[in-house]
């Protein structure tokens, strides 16, 4: 029996795109919640939105955009045979993910320290529209944060595959798919940032 394994590069990539579409619908649903409640409680969304810090939001936007640059470049590096550069760039991507989560830690710690978190007594005392804002803020950015962590794990796993030679210039779809997932994480934040941090000030 021939040892040659037939691999379907296009099929593998398309499969990842299909999965990404399900993620778009998932986060799309959360953005719909935002839109519906913004329409119902415009004033409360503005007053609650002022509590969010544009520096945390903007800083994390820059971090994620840079992380996407790194992972995109890593594919070029791998395909050109620059494996060490590829691993360095992927390390940079994971480093950005860590930086994102550190920022988020400080941001959320400050909020939680002020009693602003789902189920808190302070939240119950707020106007309904304000409570809704913070609940969907935590839900959306929390779910996004989980995706950042998952993405970082997937990318680290991919780095291991590259080190062991399972992913290489002749067969790199695993890296490409990991990159696609990471870009989706970036895309979601591209919409979270203006909607939660900018337009409500």
């Amino acid at each position: 029996m021939s040892g040659h394994l037939h691999k379907d590069y296009t099929g593998a990539k398309f499969g990842m795109w299909l999965f990404l579409f399900t993620e778009v619908l998932l986060f799309g649903g959360l953005f719909i919640l935002y839109a519906v409640y913004l329409a119902r409680y415009p004033k409360e969304f503005v007053s609650a939105g002022k509590e969010l810090n544009v520096w945390f939001g903007g800083g994390n936007t820059l971090v994620l955009l840079t992380s996407s640059l790194f992972v995109a470049m890593s594919i070029t590096a791998l395909r050109r045979g620059a494996t060490a550069l590829c691993l360095g760039l992927l390390g940079g991507t994971v480093g950005c993910a860590a930086l994102f989560m550190v920022n988020k830690f400080f941001e959320w710690s400050a909020k939680i320290g002020h009693g602003i978190y789902p189920g808190s007594a302070h939240l119950k005392e707020m106007a309904p529209g304000e409570m809704v804002f913070f609940n969907i803020y935590y839900l959306t950015t929390g779910l996004h944060g989980i995706h950042v962590v998952i993405g970082a794990i997937v990318l680290t796993w991919t780095m291991v595959f590259i080190r062991t030679g399972r992913v290489h210039a002749g067969d790199w779809v695993i890296l490409e798919n990991a990159g696609l997932y990471w870009h989706l994480v970036d895309l979601i934040w591209i919409f979270i940032f203006p909607l939660y941090y900018l337009i409500l000030h």
């Binding site: 398309f14 996407s68 640059l69 970036d186 591209i190 203006p194 337009i199």
Partner: protein, 94 residues
């Protein structure tokens, strides 16, 4: 059987797109300082859409993919638009 693969995207292309994304981020923060009323959200969404288009086309390589991929993405976005639209047909008239 090996497939013919798309050309390798130069580092420079990615870096140029990243710079464009940074500029657009600055633009969206700057515009948000001004008060155009209800227009603010549409401008913000417009810039976000532009940024996403760059990420999808270049970083995610969709520009160089087969038409099937582009059609699939358009279909998914159309479904999301219908989802949003029908929700608002309900919610706006309660």
């Amino acid at each position: 059987m090996t497939e013919v693969h798309a050309h390798i995207v130069p580092y420079r292309t990615f870096i140029l797109v990243w710079v464009a994304l940074l500029i657009l981020t600055g633009a969206t923060v700057t515009v948000a300082q001004y008060h155009f009323g209800a227009l603010n959200i549409w401008i913000a969404l417009g810039i976000a859409t532009l940024k996403s288009s760059l990420v999808i086309a270049v970083f995610m390589h969709l520009k160089d993919e087969q038409p099937l991929f582009k059609l699939a993405l358009l279909s998914a976005l159309a479904i999301l638009a219908i989802f949003i639209g029908l929700t608002f047909f309900d919610v706006l008239y309660r």
